[in-house]
Amino acid sequence: MKKHTITLTVNGEERDLIVSSNRTLLDALRDDLGFTDTKYGCGTGECGACTVLVDGTTSINGCLTLAATMDGKSITTAAGLARDGNLHPVQQAFIDNDAIQCGFCTPGMVLKAVSILDENPNPTEAEIRHGLEGSICRCTGYTKIVEAVQDASNRLSGVGE
């Protein structure tokens, strides 16, 4: 089986690695690079626990992406959202709105929220819910997650400050 030498920029840091053809981006991130904040939840692109952002804020499933096709790409995981110990406004909104329970979906969910707000800084509730499809949470019933995204939207657009 062919091995591929690739360079990934993960959370702003450049990493060279050698991956087999069948290595998923998820496994490369978790097992080769130690970004265990990206989770395996189903392996088939249904649950969104493996969500990462590519080249900005495009959300994809790490479990359905071959690492070797990602050479030169820039990847953001949840671990890369905070800057100098300061949480991203979306992360802070998740905390402040009690949108986190078991936390297993949280890294993917937070990244998803970032991508929703990047595409549409002032989404309606229905748009938030539509955008959150593909990220399963079994703990919260989504209510507080939706509230957190609304709150983050306000924070990012300066409302209420």
């Binding site: 089986m1 959300s59 593909g134």
Partner: protein, 292 residues
């Protein structure tokens, strides 16, 4: 049952269409083409065994999504569902396709999955495929001997089987330009919002005022491939579409489909509600996409 680690294969990364088709000519049925990969990787995690995966990641020129009032819509092999959703031209001229893209899978999958991939999957439930079936389209296939065109009407042969030859690469899809008075819509039924369709329908109506002068009516999840409903199309053509007329249409849909029982629904239920879905999708088309 999936594996956590896919079986071995070689990943080939051609950098041009010609390189890709040369690889296909070499490996034929021993190779699978990866564009978005959202279906292929799932298959590879199940028991699909393939020696080579030819990725289109580095092939330039396949991202083309363009609209021309004469030529219509061109969709390149790497155009994703998200690209469709972002296109104002698609939203305006091909509402059925835009509506299908809107509910297609999940945001992550929409960012990755390609329109052509959905067509090549030949699933009898494919949402974007169904919308395109209604709109009509021609697939451009290329191999080392050249290009050929296949009308979508002739493309899906049976469940998972298409007219694509092993050595052919589907490079783009051409959707005809919309005519004045063309109205299309897509509608589906699912168990929960994010789900594969358990029943879907799309229409493309040629309207002259209140009168329908031409119709394509297609359904998914009611047979081994997506199907057209010729009787319904025949009745629609030349008709003034009234609520009573639609009830009549609704009642004959069942005679044109052969659904089965599966995980998502039953044959019995599908037969019962198919007419309702067709009725509603026609109304939706006439209401310019507004629900009901």
């Amino acid at each position: 049952m999936t594996s956590r680690v896919m079986r071995e294969f070689d990943l080939l990364l051609p950098e041009s269409v010609s390189e890709a088709i040369t690889l296909l000519a070499t490996h034929k049925d021993k190779a699978a083409v990866l564009a978005g990969g959202t279906d292929l990787l799932v298959a590879l995690k199940f028991d699909y065994d393939i020696d080579n995966v030819i990725s289109l990641a580095l092939v330039p020129g396949l991202n083309n999504l363009s609209f021309d009032t004469k030529l219509g819509l061109t969709i390149g092999a790497r155009v994703t569902i998200a690209d469709i959703l972002r296109s104002d031209d698609v939203k305006k001229h091909y509402p059925a396709l835009w509506q299908a893209a809107k509910v297609f899978a999940t945001p992550q999958l929409r960012n990755t999955a390609t329109v052509l991939g959905n067509i090549l999957r030949a699933s009898p439930a494919g949402d974007c495929s169904l919308a395109l079936y209604a709109l009509g389209g021609t697939l451009i296939l290329e191999n080392t001997s050249g290009r050929r065109e296949v009308n979508l009407d002739d493309f899906w042969l049976s469940y998972g089987v298409t007219a694509r030859k092993d050595d052919e690469l589907a490079v783009s899809l051409q959707v005809p330009a919309p005519s004045a008075g063309q109205k299309s819509a897509f509608r589906r039924m699912t168990r929960v919002t994010e789900d594969l369709s358990k029943l879907n329908a799309a229409v493309n109506l040629q309207m002259d005022g209140d009168k329908c002068t031409g119709a394509r009516v297609v359904m998914g999840c009611v047979g081994p491939t997506l199907v057209r409903l010729p009787k319904v199309e025949g009745l629609l053509t030349g008709a003034i579409i009234t609520p009573n007329f639609l009830e009549g249409i609704s009642n004959i849909v069942g005679s044109e489909i052969k659904p089965i029982d599966d995980i998502r629904s039953s044959a019995e239920y599908r037969l019962k509600v198919a007419g309702v879905l067709v009725k509603r999708v026609i109304k939706q088309a006439l209401n310019e996409g507004n629900d009901q």
